[in-house]
Assembly symmetry: C2
Homo-oligomer: 441 residues x 2
Amino acid sequence: MTSVAPKQEMTPATAALMARRVATIGPHSPLFYDTPLELVRGEGAWLTDAAGRRYLDGYNNVPHVGHANPVVAEAVSRQLRTINLHTRYLNHMVVDYSEALLETFEAGLDRLFLVNSGSEANELALRIARQHTGRSGILVSDFSYHGNTTSLAELTTGLAVHEEFGTHVRAVRIPDATGLDAQAEAALRDQALAEVDAAISSLQEAGHGLSASLFDLIFSTEGLLNVPAGYVEGLAQRVQAAGGLFIADEVQSGFGRLGSRMWGHQLYSITPDLVTLGKPMGNGHPVGAVVTTEALLDEFGGRNMYFNTFAGSPASCAAGLAVLGEMRDRALMDNALATGKFIADAMQQIAKNSPLIGAVRGQGLFFGYDIVRPGNAQEPDAAATKALIELMKDKGVLISRIGRDDNVLKMRPPMVIEHEQAQLLVDRLAEAVAEVTARQG
Amino acid sequence: MTSVAPKQEMTPATAALMARRVATIGPHSPLFYDTPLELVRGEGAWLTDAAGRRYLDGYNNVPHVGHANPVVAEAVSRQLRTINLHTRYLNHMVVDYSEALLETFEAGLDRLFLVNSGSEANELALRIARQHTGRSGILVSDFSYHGNTTSLAELTTGLAVHEEFGTHVRAVRIPDATGLDAQAEAALRDQALAEVDAAISSLQEAGHGLSASLFDLIFSTEGLLNVPAGYVEGLAQRVQAAGGLFIADEVQSGFGRLGSRMWGHQLYSITPDLVTLGKPMGNGHPVGAVVTTEALLDEFGGRNMYFNTFAGSPASCAAGLAVLGEMRDRALMDNALATGKFIADAMQQIAKNSPLIGAVRGQGLFFGYDIVRPGNAQEPDAAATKALIELMKDKGVLISRIGRDDNVLKMRPPMVIEHEQAQLLVDRLAEAVAEVTARQG
């Protein structure tokens, strides 16, 4: 997924920039592609590199309402020229934004803490859960990532961290029902929920108890898994029955990305206790949130002097309001549904013509392809996946990959992607799949 | 320091805003003043409230180069209209800013991690230290605050948190040499350093060992203490001799606030292993950093896939660069020295005329007054301190307070404060001190 040692030639200018980068933020800060891409300009779903070449962005969800969105830029700019202070003085912006954001949630989830990142949001959600329950145990998926603090490193299963996996954490395998009939799907669900039961019992027997579960409910880091019907409901029921708080991490699935729902957890018949937000929230402005109930906010607020210097400042809220405004004014959830369906249908067609492609995954404007050994839909092919990503870049389209076997092509364009751009994306994808298939064959 | 239940009448409009705020971010989010102040506009060191009344900002350090600074607003705005992406693609802004920032540090401190807040910076510094040492013990001051994550809550001594104080943390009392002669000062230093020795031994005996110390080296939360000569050097020597990493938290003391030095740790003959930055860094844009050595960056980077979605993005770096540019172009450290000396001299004069004032504290543009019972410089008077802050607000000047006894007046205006504004600040301060002194007498 990332490359720290560029393998191909760079232009002298890019090589010089790369050397200066290594001499400041170091050689380990991850970069995409064998030859890192120097991007200098964006507009909507387009990006332009230092050589003036244009790329279609099929990957980035942070620029949710489009690269260099002028409405967001103007809102932040206007606020920075007016006032931008912390929340120890009153200002209407934090209230205006909080109301607008909370309106998108179901009844009961009507309070929030504003923070500066998804990491800060998950960190705070876990503090709230530990304090509420008086217990420490946490349930996560066995291939996931929720942020870069110590508490979150201790429960990271989806990338390299030096910290030992927490003795107070249990990781469960998320079931994938792709291709199963109803009976097999139900059996898989029951088996996976039995694993959840065992994990909760194990935490209780070890004396940790269960404080919270923390899941991205579209299981994107795991590879955009198709969980069996009833699995998430069973998971939430078990967590809450054990007295734990159910945390829905919406950093990937939120803000209408799925088209059909504003929030990923709304795909299921569940009520999370805490919902954490990040990436697309400010179109790149650092902002995150924990949405919760009045009771949980009150309990935590009464026990802790919680303050966050930057969070809730008028400029952060202006960015957030502009994102919600653009989503509404440009009907971007409708676009996620319609353009998403167009891309998904085309992906199904492409898949039919290549033995390289196993499952087709995703919904709304979030797509995945399992890339497998021809003739064996169960055998992941990370090398072919990498080849596809590099080839797509050569063809002017940026995508990436996810999953425990590094073999799920990940496509997640800005929500403003237009029909012609979607057509370009699937045309280039068809070509790339054909070329890599021919190489393999 | 904060008030959650407004005690005085608000205008109907402000009361309505307050009610909406309580119904979204809740009643516990801290607010200054008996009657919360609704601020709607800023310019330089001026702030304007909803009724159109103007206040001199004698408190806020986040708007370092001035409220609504047009250079910062323009830099962020231009970048938001161009491109604003994470660091997995190359872009010159993260390199330009990192180089400019690292140039202000001494040799050896020549690498950095960019993050989104001071909390994220201290959180990361502790991760680096724990991994480097393989130990968990932490040394802090017994009245300090370094951020709002779980790891930082466990070592918080300066405000209310529900978490139990970490068994792996030792808190030492910071010595204040104010008013002592050289011999007494040396004795106090030796006694305080013996306490440090004991704390480190205690961590070692308990099996935690020492991973790091974490101090704000102007001891501002503690009340802007005047530590004995040689204390900080002795502290650093002991921490590093025990194999611990010495973390300098520059969230309060950094970015030229002290006038004489860019960084607070440069007041002493020490070399920190890690330096953490936050508040003033982006003039309110959420940005922070951990500055460290190549060896420590390499060790941590090699062991962990560390990535931070928002940090290092071009807009964050544009804000940071604009702050450094304004500091240079407007010679703001010179202003901190000159205007700071003017205020400090005036504060000494005012102190002579009031038995309410014990020590006069601070340097550069960071000032404190111990407010005490008349006739007893050792007996803190929190009520009189509060009265002074409210009275200063009535007179159109915003200040606050710090310290374990809530009795140290805290003045820390934006770095752009002008001579006439400084004159206004000390004139109003003289009036307020005289009035509260008369009330007490």
